[in-house]
Symmetry: C2
Subunit: 450 residues, 2 copies
């Protein structure tokens, strides 16, 4: 056991008070110079993260894991080209990642695997004392949401949900406005994942985004695993890109919490239509009944009386939008239409273009690193989410988005499924903080973020 | 009893089959040359309608009713200036409108009174054999929704809900697109009433839209009656501007129906804040607890598997928007951002500006009457809704938006209230058509509209 892990075990005894403190170091006494990172999953998403960590001076990739040898080759090639030493390689079977977790020369892991592996791997990482960065969504079931929380509390090891949209430039500017009270007391939010994924969920088994209507064993990349969730679950299976940013603005788990939701699903015709159109009506997949409604509408209530509409809309032809609205007693921002209204500053009853406002409240982090970030993927978000992960892990402090957040955000999946199954019956959120939300303080996204 | 009323009574015996037929004449055998109209309520809204009927050659205003003598003066002045003969005048007490309904020289009435009078007056009008045009919203309670339907079926007299937004130019163009299947099978809709009404709900008791924080007995115009609904009811009290157009596009009560809804309300802070800001924290109204949540989100499910989000957002500072979205298997329109996407025609994953589409599918009615309509108020909508009412009443045929529509749309108010009171519990819609929705045919909004 490394000295760091020993220290963590000891500090755990001190109990939840310390674990909850958002910026209290209880890992190494001095921040490490280089964080030794293991990459679990180096598919399209994992290599995107790999690229970002390789660009950093303060990270060494000491191990990689993937069950696909092609992806291992690609990752090794990237590391070699970066000039870094070759990492240890794992991938002999589904559970070989546990051998990576046993390595002394791994401080932290970045997990970017199919959804069904997310919680299992994050849990094992925390049990092994590795600071865990977990791709979205974090959990598939309510039990898994609790696994994340309970394992964090049991081990004292941190996990961060790697929700990149929280670092989008407009989101951080609007968060800045929220913190400066420009919107006044917050009242209502909208968000969601509205993204035509038909060409992602179905392909030809040869290229990730090629034409074709195959998935599962005959598919490739995300279609090999993601589509099964659309086939069998009528739920918002991907809530965090929308709800993550809103939860942070609304202090969820930190003075506020999600209390209940209702959820409604439309008929499911989008994927079927796509299969018929591109594969013909006699294609075997044209006979499948996809359970996931094409548009799923979830309305969340919070302890402080706000409501949040979360949309999942991924099976119909449409341009991308996360559909954000942030509305308070003094005004609102709507991403659709790029517009802002602030009472007393905007002309009465007239929208402002949001651009000037977003520029005025541009987040200090974006002002500092914006240019550097823009090359990192997804419009710069990925740079910042990896930076926050690396900096938090180096100091072994609580991350900006932790196990409680991962659990509350991901709980939308099983709760929406239950509500839909029961004709929209409201479903209560568990209190993953076991009451601590009434005294937990918000993370300082303006000052403490990296 | 006039010969027309006798005819109606007789035709009622023939039963629902005839009453349901959307374009079968069962009133006078020949359309009347001039429709004799009684105006019940000549406040701001009523005189707007009065102005429109006075501009028509085929209408004679034979009677007016209002309990406010000032409004009577204004209306009489308008009629006098138009060159028409003076109408009979009613207004001696709340129930004097019933004397107007007894007049032989009234064929039809336009009811534009405070909400609590809507159903009562429309019911009395139908009982008196007068074709009834009823302002929105049509009913306050579930019993009143049934009153409208049952009275229509009992008397064979028609009523039309005067929902002007159904005649908005963009709405009619999009309806045209719906009917031409441009969006494909319909899946999801959004709509609502998002209108900062703080300065309407509160005024100084002297002018309708002046500053001031009075309402009820100390208020004037809408604040004298409308605000009480915000004080005591936590419900979407004004659903039809949003849901009317969507219900028509989605064939509600004509091959489809609303089946259930869930509703969520936020905290109520907007009106209180406004009172404190403009009247001071010691103003008596600052002590009131307004029950109506600032943003109310209602999600409706339909028999054919679509969902409709209806928003009520009237107590916070914000520019006006009815927030329409119409989404089908082939694409979608969103009014916010003025954008359209149609698969195979729009560039993949890119929005078109909606303008070109709306121009291409401009409704024939707007092409014919657009210029004339534009002077009529509310951007031309009021011209068309009055034209449809007058033409339907002249022929005594079922209107485009009838008692079943008025009931189903207005039922959102009591059902949302119940759902909110019960933490979002789903509420079932009654089937106001008593099963007939499975064989009722949609009104032909393209061909039969006037």
């Amino acid at each position: 056991m490394s000295s760091r892990r020993k220290f963590i075990k000891k500090s755990t005894v001190l109990g939840a008070g310390i674990m909850m403190a958002p910026s209290l170091t209880f890992g190494m006494s001095k921040p490490q110079d280089k964080l030794k990172v293991g990459m679990i999953g180096v598919g399209l998403r994992g290599t995107n993260h790999l690229n970002n960590v390789l660009l950093r001076d303060d990270v060494l990739v000491t191990a990689i894991c993937d069950i696909d040898p092609n992806r291992i080759s690609i990752a090794l090639d990237m590391i070699s080209k970066s000039g870094d030493p070759a990492p240890k390689v794992f991938g002999k079977g589904d559970l070989d990642y546990r051998n990576l977790l046993d390595l002394k020369e791994v401080d932290a892991v970045i997990i970017a695997t199919p959804w069904l592996w997310h919680t299992r791997m994050a849990k094992d990482a925390m049990l092994a004392g590795k600071y865990a960065g977990l791709e979205v969504s974090a959990a598939n079931t309510m039990e898994e949401c609790w696994d994340l929380v309970n394992t964090h509390e049991q081990t004292g090891t941190h996990m961060m949900i790697l929700e990149n949209v929280n670092y989008r430039r407009d989101i951080m500017a609007v968060l800045n406005m929220v913190k400066q009270n420009v919107f006044g007391e917050l009242v209502h939010f909208r968000c969601g994942y509205q993204h035509d994924l038909r060409f992602v969920k179905l392909n030809d088994g040869k290229s990730a985004y090629g034409k074709g209507v195959e998935f599962g064993d005959k598919g490739i990349s995300e279609s090999a695993w993601r589509t099964q969730h659309s086939l069998l679950r009528n739920a918002d299976v991907y809530p965090t890109h929308g709800v993550g940013p809103i939860a942070v603005m609304d202090n969820i788990n930190r003075g506020n919490r999600f209390t209940s939701l209702t959820s409604t699903a439309t008929k499911a015709i989008g994927i079927h239509n796509y299969i018929v159109e591109h594969g013909g009506k006699d294609h075997p997949n044209a006979k499948l009944k996809f359970k996931q409604g094409d548009v799923i509408t979830t309305t969340i209530e919070t302890a402080n009386g706000e409501s949040i509409i979360v949309t999942h809309d991924c099976n119909l032809p449409r341009p991308y939008s996360l559909g954000f609205r942030v509305q308070g007693a003094n005004g609102l921002w709507e991403v659709d239409g790029n517009r802002m209204y602030i009472e007393g500053q905007s002309k009465p009853h007239r929208w402002d273009e949001a651009d000037e406002w977003l520029k005025k409240y541009d987040h200090p982090l974006w002002q500092k690193y914006g240019e550097k970030a823009m090359g990192a993927g997804h419009g710069g978000m990925d740079f910042f989410v990896i930076q926050a992960f690396v900096e938090s892990a180096k100091q072994n402090i609580a991350p900006p988005m932790d196990a409680y957040d991962a659990a509350a955000w991901s709980a939308i999946t099983p709760l929406s499924e239950l509500s839909i199954e029961n004709n929209g019956e409201p479903q209560d959120f568990p209190d993953f903080t076991r009451g601590m939300w009434i005294k937990r303080k918000p993370y300082n996204w303006i000052k403490d973020s990296y």
